[in-house]
Symmetry: C2
């Protein structure tokens, strides 16, 4: 079933930025959550590469631009309230700037927090600086 609306998330309602979840299109692993503004969303749609808005740097963040760990977008979903996006992606290398494939590499248990993921990449090598 196809409908005409909406073509994009409701950025205005969300205060300008909507959360965007990146999920591995092949194995379903949730890789990261970042933010998109209208420009990031438009460039993602146009290029098929995930582009976010970095709140800390205050500018577009073309994922993998520096590290080479790009995300090729397979499909994009918007939620019922049109204020959150889900991107199914093919992830090159590691999604996480700490070198793990997923940013969600720490499990919170009842008594302790465990690191479950394995580092794929040395952050110092990927970004040319110490982790």
């Amino acid at each position: 079933m196809s409908i005409s609306l909406p073509r994009e998330p409701d950025f205005a309602k969300a205060g300008g930025l909507v959360p965007a979840i990146a999920q591995d299109a092949d194995n379903g692993e949730v890789l990261m959550m970042a933010w998109m503004n209208p420009e990031a969303f438009a460039e993602t749609l146009a290029t098929g590469r995930a582009v976010y808005f970095s709140r800390s740097r205050g500018k577009l963040w073309r994922k993998g631009e520096e590290s080479g760990h790009v995300q090729t977008v397979v499909s994009i979903f918007v939620d019922c309230d049109a204020d959150c996006l889900l991107l199914k992606v093919r992830q090159e290398g590691a999604a996480c700037h700490e070198g793990y494939r997923t940013c969600f590499f720490r499990q919170i248990g009842q008594d302790e927090t465990m690191i479950l993921g394995e580092r794929l990449v040395d952050p110092a090598q990927a970004y040319g600086k110490k982790p």
Copy 2:
């Protein structure tokens, strides 16, 4: 590998609320994204049922309290920046208030938005009001 810190997300850095992604623990489907404050997070940990903070209602939202569509939490992950949570859950019925299993039932295509999910539940029945 287990570490002592952090036991919980950095709510202060996130402005009091952190995004929490709910993912089906069995098939990996991303079901919804909502928000947690420290109280919601603590109650989720203590009860093993997902509890969010409703920004529109300004209070705790015990998921499924009204509809019966509860989420039993299997595991909780925190991301690298400690400002986003991932909950792996067993979802009773439909996660979405519109009656779909996932809130991400609409795919954004190049030319149109398509509804891919099927309604499991009539929202009017689940919530006693018209959708």
